[in-house]
Symmetry: C2
Subunit: 523 residues, 2 copies
């Protein structure tokens, strides 16, 4: 291939593909339309971009989220105008809250066509802005390459950002494209050095918590946190939602701040001093009448040593030195341990035990189990090393798409996707892309046939004794979803289980074979 | 029930439900979350609101679109925070472009919680604005009733508008709600009387087109247009996309401006004078390199007698008088006529014929057939009276949701939903709500296993000889979707057909039984 920059006939779309590839963006989750056809055509003769077709854009953006968490570099999405972007918006919200970097390429009408207000015309920048850190509309084919490089740069601002590049179709089809070389990538900002000594002092005192989030949860950073905990006696916790948490035997264990507000208040009550590294001060997921929104004590001193955008490894290393813990063996290192083999019917405890026993070494667990999963964390503590991903933005429907992204980022690892039935339905089209790409994903659908979390929330917000109309609006049993037929309709092998032995066998099958499997777990 | 306005303990959510009911909004398409639980609870003890649960919010907003088209008054949607709204955004785009009135009720965190930037916090007004004509966040429980009345009023501005009311959860749960009575509804603005004489003169000249859209396409208004055409010799056309077109034997027929750009240019070339009533001047759906975006002659005189927001019946009546056509029998009245009974394999022509023969009297046809449906309009011209709905915003995935809304608006009528397989997948969750509500909808899935329209568009934008990677990104055959299993997984009866006789039988079954049916038409 000749140097693309010297090709006088390169169009804007070709300069875009060359630039993305030069900047390490070589995966595109896509659902293209007319305005994106030149990008599609460019992929034909420019090798190197893996294009993953999805049937609804929420799958594309959720996959890009999962991809970034596992790869550390962004994927691109290719979305059709404002409505295509809109379909992907809620999983971009999740990605934004999780600190994932994503490069959205959004088609737009040709510049001259926009003022005509055609049926598909919309305010694309307006739609993109609430979920994006960076929004830009290319002005000409000549600038597309530089714009794309800037988008990648924006996406790589720590911990990761949403960059939305809007491409009027004439900027894609016109000649004069200029591919851009690899751009300088941003480095994380420094942590708050001025707080270091105070943080070290505080941790050595009683009733102190070191609260971790984001990139503080890598294996290496957890080990450092374990040394600090061993030396100072501070407690360790992570946020409720973690973009990526390394867990399992041989690693330092951190629990999560619980979701249920009363339990969270209880867990956090002892702490008069809290040091934050990559985490935010704990608040309620929702507000509830008559309950506090801030989960920590009124008199708690909260000290941010490093926020999510800072160099968290540097912060932990410095704190380790400042507490003289560098030679201290880490606390909370997990010993390999599995729950006893459960038998009989599936309930939340036996379910947790079967899953814990099934997690393969080096697995990626994508968790959108909502109510069903509350017992998973303690049960899986001693499983072989694995990576656990939570939903960080609270918009359900992230799980199966994120599993796709994780599987494409890490083809050598097994992916387990744990999801409620209600959650899975938002982006059920994911199953087809799993089949198409033959991804090693085992999906467990927890079929409680209700929005069970809302039954609890109804009580939390003060609604006692809900009547039949309210309960009906939270129930998914009329008709019951048949997940086996659902999966097979999109080319995914599936089975339904209702006891521990059957679940064990199904998990074993799913995790050893190549390609996706769905297991409907009847609760 | 006591007068709700006198109830001192009414909360904001209750005042909202009372106000919606008092203003004729008695259907709610919903996918609620924690922040909407007080609305859900209010429905328990306030009778009169039909709540239709959906599994993804695009179904809710598309259903509200279809409902308004058939009922002429808005339904409400109940959506969970910014991400729930975001999932419904693309079908709100379609509703906005189609002139449908929708009242969105969007939950928000309690006012005090918003500044804490919880996981689900987002810029809800920012997300709503690009698809809404009216956006408002309630300030207190006291104002919720008045805000809701204003939202209904905004939704009823002709031809129909998107109103988005954002309800912080404390405004829902706090006492002090004040239900609002029925509000004065807006009336359509007057048409452009100053243009009337000129329009009448123009129509009597040669090479003149009367182009109709929106509410000009009712049975009665079409009859008037037919008189004008008979008297003046002008031609009649409607826009390519019509929110609601009354068709069939005994009614005045109008063709549509074609979608394919070259054919559209050809059809519009003769017209030197065009009078618009409820329609916009014809433009291309997309821009294509080297082709015009404006589909009419450069020298065409285009005269807007009434835009979509004006009183179109008044405009047509006045024009009829001004052309002395009130006593003239209408032109283009359709005689009952059916194509011959086709046999053998299904192709685009035999498919159109079978469908034309199956349309029951008074049916509602929701058309998202994209490429497959290009032969449907002439074939179905002489079918019994029926109503035809098009996608007006071009964001695919509108068909099955709109069919739900139409079926709920008109429980006494049969609904046929004609949709491509690619389109249907965007909002496939619709099938479950059809089953749950036992709606009389017969869904035909045209399974060509590709985004076939994009194959044509690839050529239109100048891409010759697409290679295997490009074609693969437009193909849905790896794996093939099994629509029978898909439908059954969500409780909908289904079958698959590949010849005319089987399709005829399946249509007959589907249209005579109660409840939904899906027919996969293999192409």
């Amino acid at each position: 291939m000749t140097d693309p920059k010297l090709n006088p006939k390169m169009n804007g779309a070709e300069s875009l593909v060359h630039t993305l590839l030069a900047n390490g963006v070589d995966v595109c989750f896509t659902n293209p339309g007319t305005s994106e056809m030149h990008f599609v055509a460019a992929l034909d003769h420019i090798p190197g971009m893996r294009s993953v077709l999805v049937l609804q854009e929420g799958v594309a953006t959720g996959a890009a989220d999962g991809y970034y968490r596992m790869k550390g570099t962004p994927a691109s999405t290719l979305l059709h105008l404002g409505p295509g972007l809109a379909n992907g918006l809620s999983n971009l919200h999740n990605a934004k809250k999780g600190g994932s970097g994503v490069v959205n390429i959004i088609g737009e009408h040709a510049s001259s066509h926009i003022e005509l207000d055609a049926p598909l015309t919309s305010d694309i920048e307006g739609i993109a802005r609430p979920v994006s850190h960076w929004v830009h509309t290319s002005k000409s084919a000549q600038t597309v390459g530089a714009d794309a490089a800037e988008a990648v740069q924006a996406a790589m601002v720590a911990p990761g950002q949403i960059a939305s590049l809007i491409l009027p179709s004439d900027t894609a089809w016109n000649d004069g494209g200029v591919a851009h070389d690899a751009i300088d990538l941003p480095t994380p900002k420094p942590f708050d050095h001025g707080q270091l000594d105070h943080a070290a002092n505080v941790l050595s005192g009683p009733e102190t918590l070191l609260l971790l989030g984001g990139a503080a949860l890598t294996e290496r950073n957890l080990e450092i946190a374990g040394r600090i905990a061993a030396k100072t006696g501070c407690k360790l916790l992570s946020e409720w939602s973690n973009a990526r948490l390394e867990r399992g035997a041989g690693r330092v264990f951190v629990g999560r701040v619980p979701y249920p507000i009363d339990i969270a208040l209880e867990v956090l009550k002892p702490f008069k001093r809290i040091v934050l590294i990559g985490a935010r001060a704990p608040i309620g997921f929702f507000a509830y009448p008559g309950k506090p929104a801030i989960l920590t004590r009124d008199d708690a001193e909260i000290l941010t040593l490093a926020d999510a955008g800072a160099d968290l490894s540097a912060a932990l290393n410095a704190l380790c030195s400042a507490t003289n813990a560098t030679k201290t063996p880490p606390a909370h290192v997990v010993t390999a341990d599995q729950p006893a083999r459960p038998t009989g019917p599936i309930n939340l405890d036996t379910l947790a035990a079967v899953i814990a026993r099934a997690i393969p070494e080096n697995a990626i667990v994508v968790d959108e189990s909502v109510t069903t999963g509350r017992a998973f964390s303690p049960a899986t503590k001693g499983a072989p090393r694995h990576t656990w991903l939570n939903n960080c933005g609270g918009s359900i429907g992230y799980g199966m798409p994120a599993a796709i992204g994780a599987a494409i980022a890490c083809p050598e690892r097994k992916v387990m996707c744990l999801t409620g039935d209600g959650s899975a339905m938002y982006t059920v089209q994911s199953l087809w892309s799993m089949a198409r790409e033959n991804l090693d994903i085992t999906v467990l659908i927890f079929a409680n046939r209700s929005y069970k979390i809302l039954r609890g929330e109804l009580t939390n917000v003060g609604v006692q004794n809900p009547g039949p109309r309210a309960i009906d609006m939270l129930s998914l049993d009329r008709p019951a979803l048949d997940w086996v037929q659902m999966a097979r309709s999109m080319g995914v092998e599936a089975c339904s289980v209702s006891n521990c032995a059957a679940l064990e066998t199904a998990l074993d099958d799913g995790l050893t074979r190549s390609g996706p499997t769905l297991i409907e777990v009847l609760l």
